[in-house]
Each structure stands twice: as C-alpha cells, then as structure tokens.
C-alpha cells in the first residue's frame, strides 16, 4: 500500500483514540488500590514503605484525589462499579456511603482497631449497630484567640460559659477600637452555629433522622445566642468572601477570636508576624454553663463493599492505623492522630496550642448521621444568615429551617416507612 498524505492525516487524526485501545487490555486486578486525598495521599507512599507489607500480599497502588472532587468521585465510582479496595473517607461522608451500601462494615476480627479511639469519632462511624470505618486522623473546631487582646480586656482567655464568654467579648470589643470586632463568625459557614447547637445539647433531627428538630428549645437557645452576637455588634455581618485573608485580619486585630480546626495552627505559625507568635492561643468551646461541645471531624479508612482482597484490605487498614504508622502520619502531615495513646507518644499534650484539641475531642458530639445532613446544614445556614440580616426572628428562622429540613428528608421518611433506610 502506498502511504499517501491522506493516510498520514487519517492516522494522525486517530491518534487521540489510541488510549482507548489500552482500555481493551486486561485490567490489573491483582493490585490493592487505595484512594486518598490531599496531604495524606502525598505522604502515603512514604508511609507504606514503613508498614512491612508482606511480600506475598497483593501490591498496593495509591491513587490520589483532590479534596474538592473526592466526594463526587466516590459516588460516581460507586455508580460505575469502579471503587477501589480501600479508601480515605471524610467522617461526615460515612453515613451517605453506608446508606447506599458502598462500604463493608468492620468485621469482628478487626474490631480491636476501634479501641483506644475518641468515643465521638467512632460514634460518627457507627450506624445501625455497625461501624463502617476506622478513624485514621481526627480534627474538630475550637476557638483561636488573641491572648494579648484578651489580656488588655482583663482576661486570661475566653471564659467557658456563654454568659461570661459574651461579657468578655464585650470588653474585648470596647478595647478593640473603631471598626474592629470581637469575633469572626462568617455568615456563609455553618460550623459556628452547629458548634453552638451541639454545645447547647440540641439533637437537630429526630424520628430516626426523619424530621428536623430545629424548633426544640435547645436549638432555639443556640440560634438566639448566635443572633445576639451580631445584634450586639460583637461580630461583623460578613461572609468569608469579604475577608481577603483571615490570618492578616486576625493579626491586625479586626477580630480577636474565630473558630477553626487544627490545620490553622500551622497556618498561624507560618503566616502571622514573628512579633505576634506568642500572642495567639487555642481554647475549648464555650457552652451554656461550662465547656461546650464540637463536631468530630477527620478521615477514616474504609474498605469498600464487594472489592477484591477483603482480608488484605483490612490488614492494610490495621497496619495504617497502628500506633507506629499513626506517629509517622502525624510527623509527615501534622494531622492529629486518631489513637489517644499516640497523643502521649508524640508529646502532643505538651504543645499548648494542640492540647485543647484533646480536651475538645473528649467532649465532642456526633452530628446526625443521615445522608441528607450536609444539604440540611447548608439550608440551615442560608436561613440563619437571613435571620442575622433581619429577615426572620429566631422563632420564624427555627420554623423555616424545620420546614426546609422536612422537605429534604421526605424521601428518607418514605424509606423509613418501607424499612429500607439504614
């Protein structure tokens, strides 16, 4: 055959199709694939080098996912039947993945992995009497505050009870000068309000997660307290988009207190001016009368249902959550270890910025475990923002959140009726 220009052009045009042919070959089913996200994925290859993986076990393949796309990837992976054997899953996604049957429960022989853990974190992973993941690292949100600005107002730190806490914030605000505030509660974030609600003992959903419980007195108390912080001028009515840089504004004293997680410790150490390094600290959340609560966060390692290599997968989870590997993970990523004994081994209790996280994690409360939860809190915050901006009273807002939650939970109620919901 004579090779003409047309043939060449045709061959060139078909080049992009070449990878498709690769898809026709045999798939590599003998490897044990693990999906992980962000920093954890980046440090996994080094971690795997240290776990003494047996030579006769299937080789491990790490596939990193970006955090922003991980949730969708997990669901589309389930829909397409292409989930790996093991995966890192945000604790708040476990309810959803368990409800659709994507996860395998922790088998009896691996149940020892759940000892030496924080109760609230394990509770987050326990649905319908089974545990669906082994906590890998943990986090939660508590207060970051400016020690110097609280000292100027006459306080060592934020007091633990709501009344005292608010009085202290008023003093801080008086000292802060014009245009500055005492605290930052961005109106587009729901974590602040859920933390207050958990501290007040609100359950937020009832009837097995079939209906909203936002009109119950505990949640209303939290909602009213939240509203008063803005009405009394302690917090600016802004969303996160209007704060160009949290650390800079914190350093400038635009606000003296905000809510965030352990990742902020590293950020503050890196980004705050050296002169301010001794002037910030962390403190546990306040509650109506004494130390409050928080929602446990972090990631767990899960084994996906009907994946290959069940035994090897749980073996890998066991090795990755063992104390030595936990310590290595903490050193590589600064993630807080899920095992409580590792906290002592890593000397974390000696770090005054980290120690309050331990106290808070011991006093954490699991959020409602229904797949619709994230959408419900998103709606809750939309209503709360409107309330703060004066569109609703506290009672009206509570009723509106309940109405929206009930609408979102309609399918779940139908599932519960049919006995199909987890």
């Amino acid at each position: 055959m004579q090779l003409t220009r047309r043939h060449m052009a045709g061959a060139l045009a078909a080049l992009p199709l070449a990878p498709l042919l690769g898809g026709c070959g045999t798939r590599e089913d003998d490897a044990l694939t693990i999906w992980a996200m962000g920093n954890e994925a980046a440090s996994l290859p080094a971690l795997l080098g240290g776990i003494a993986w047996p030579a006769d076990a299937p080789p491990i393949a790490v596939q990193p996912l970006p955090w922003t796309a991980a949730h969708e990837k997990l669901l589309t992976g389930f829909a397409g039947g292409s989930l790996p054997s093991v995966g890192q899953v945000g604790n708040s996604w476990i309810a959803e993945l368990a409800a659709i049957g994507a996860l395998a429960p922790v088998p009896a022989y691996a149940r020892r992995l759940l000892h030496d853990q924080f109760g609230a974190v394990v509770d987050t992973n326990r649905i319908a009497g089974k545990t669906w993941g082994v906590p890998w690292y943990v986090d939660t949100r508590l207060q970051f505050y400016r020690k110097d600005l609280f000292a100027r107002a006459g306080y060592d730190g934020p007091p633990p009870d709501w009344a005292g806490w608010k009085a202290a914030l008023h003093k801080v605000k008086e000292q802060a000068g014009d245009g500055n505030y005492a605290l930052l509660y961005p109106l587009n974030e729901y974590e602040q309000l859920t933390t207050l609600a958990l501290s007040a003992g609100a359950r937020m959903l009832h009837d097995e997660g079939g209906r909203g419980a936002f009109s119950e007195p505990e949640f209303k108390a939290a909602l009213a307290f939240y509203k008063s912080l803005f009405d009394e001028g302690l917090a600016p009515r802004v969303s996160m988009a209007q704060i160009s840089n949290v650390w800079t504004e914190f350093g400038r004293g635009y606000f003296s207190l905000f809510l965030s997680g352990p990742w902020t410790i590293g950020d503050l150490k890196r980004r705050l001016a050296p002169a301010l390094q001794d002037d910030w600290g962390t403190a546990v959340n306040p509650g109506p009368d004494g130390i409050g609560s928080a929602a446990p966060g972090g990631s767990s390692l899960v084994v996906f249902a009907d994946g290959a290599h069940d035994k090897a997968a749980w073996d890998l989870v066991a090795r990755l959550t063992a104390s030595v590997a936990q310590l290595a993970l903490h050193e590589a990523t600064v993630d807080l270890p899920a095992r409580r004994s590792v906290w002592t081994a890593a000397g974390l209790m000696r770090d005054p910025a980290v120690a309050p996280f331990r106290v808070q994690l011991e006093r954490a409360t699991a959020l409602p475990k229904v797949p619709e939860w994230e959408r419900i809190v998103t709606e809750m915050q939309i209503v709360a923002e409107r309330m703060v901006r004066g569109q609703f009273s506290v009672d009206e807002a509570a009723r509106e959140i309940d109405a929206r939650a009930d609408r979102l939970l309609e399918k779940r109620r139908w599932m519960l009726e049919k006995g199909r919901a987890l």
Partner: protein
Amino acid sequence: MSAQRRTSEGASAVGRAGEVRAGWAMASPALAAILLFFALPAVASLFLSFTDFDIYALADLGNLRFVGLANYERLIQNPLFWKAMTNTLLFVAVGTPLIVALSLFAAMLVNSRWLKWRPVWRVALFAPYVTTLVATAVVWRYLLHTRYGLLNYLLSFFGVPPIDWLGSPTASLPAILLFVGWKTFGYNMIIFLAALQTVPRELDEAARIDGAGWLTRLRHVTLPAIAPTMLLVSVLTVAGMFQLFAEPYVMTQGGPAQSTVTILYFMYEEGFKWWNLGSGAAVAFLLFLCILAVTLVQLRITKRSGAI
C-alpha cells in the same frame, strides 16, 4: 420501440428506488448514532426528570419513585434556581454582543491588507481558544488578583482603586465575562474571517470612491455581506453562553455569594453534588427549552430580514 421505452422507464424507477435505498444506507450510520447518542439520552433524561432519582435510587432502583411534575414545581419555588437563571440571562445579554463585537473586530484586524505577518497574528489570536481551559484559568486568576494582578495594576494608572475581581459579588460576573470573551473569541474570529474574505473587494472600493467613510462602508457593505455568518456566530454564542459552566467552576465555584452560579452550574450541583439526578434532569430540560426558544426567535428574525 415502445416496449423499449417502457423498460427504460421501469429501469429508471428501479434506479430511483435503488438511489433512495442507497441514500438511507449511507445516512443510516449517522442517523443511528444520532438516535443512540442524542435522541435516546434526551428522552431518557426527560423521563428521569419525572422521577426522584437520588442516592437511594442509586443504591437500589426499587427506591425510585415516579413524582410527575414535582421536580419542576420545586425548582420554580427554589430562589437559587431563579438566581442561576438571572445570572445566565445576564451572561447571555451582556456576553453575546461583547463576544460577537470582539471577534468581528479581531477578524477585521487580521483581514486588513496593511497588516504584516498576518498568519502569525491569526494564530496568536486563535491560540486562547485551543489552550486548555484550566491552565488559562490559573493564569487569569493571577491577572485578576486583587493585589498582584496585572489588571488592577493597569487600572491603578487611571486612579482606579483595586477591585476584588473574583471575591466581590458585583465584580465576579464581569471578571468571568472578560475571561470567557478572551477564551472564545478566536473561534468566532475564524468564522468571521472566512466570511470577510468573500466580501467582494470591488464593492468596498466603489463605496470608497463614492466617498464613504470607514464606518459607512462597514454598515452598508461589509455587514450586509456577512449577515448570515453574523446569525450563525450569534446563535453559537448564545448557545455557548447558556451552557457556561467550566469557567465559573474553575474560577469561582459559583461564588461569591452565588453570584456566578449559572444554570448549568446549578444543574451540576443538583445532579452531582447533591446527587438529585431527577431534579438535575428537570433543570437540563428547562435549559433545552430556553436555548430552543432563543434560537427559533433568532432564526425567525433573520428569515424576515432575508439573510437566509
């Protein structure tokens, strides 16, 4: 003789039938592809929009319920849907004239006879269209940066205070429009360029001899000659603007304060973030109706003016 004619007539009838068969045979692969990959999914998604397909149904199809028009009813009550609709209409209303004008201007520029190195300019102006969207979005995020951005730097010469392009609810939409315009005008420019080269030079010269200025020649010679192309480009741009998704997804993720949530972005969130595929399909169907309506109106207008 007559028998002969009859046979020849018969033969031609058979030939016509054969031609028809051959025509169908040749068109059938394309028709089958359209049926399989376009018509069938379209009907399926219309059907999907009458169900409450969600993650429960994903786990077990037995959890699927037929809900009639409830998805549409809920959409109409959803303020975010209307916000997305308004944003999209803004993009269409402001973006279409902007992009059409920009690409026509660029096409006339690279078509002009006094320009040297014309092929180089053509490639340079066409390059944004063929560059990867995510890579260009990263560069544009730098250009639009509040403190280090080139755009704010240039504006500072005119005494304009720094604008938080991607962080302020009022500036984000123009910022995305700038990016979209820069990214897409190259394709339209090529179409316009092809049309401009068919405009008879004699007409232009005759008008010039008659004393017509640049603007008059543009209005009375060039634009009438390229009117059909103008229609094609504006239909394509309107359709493209209605389907704006990747740009806000990469640049702002719909924010700040949902000011860049387009209808397609809303559909994506509904379908793949919250996994309400039934409701997402309803949005898709409404979007389809919108684009169809706008295109029909445009066709009607141009038919009346005799461009086609």
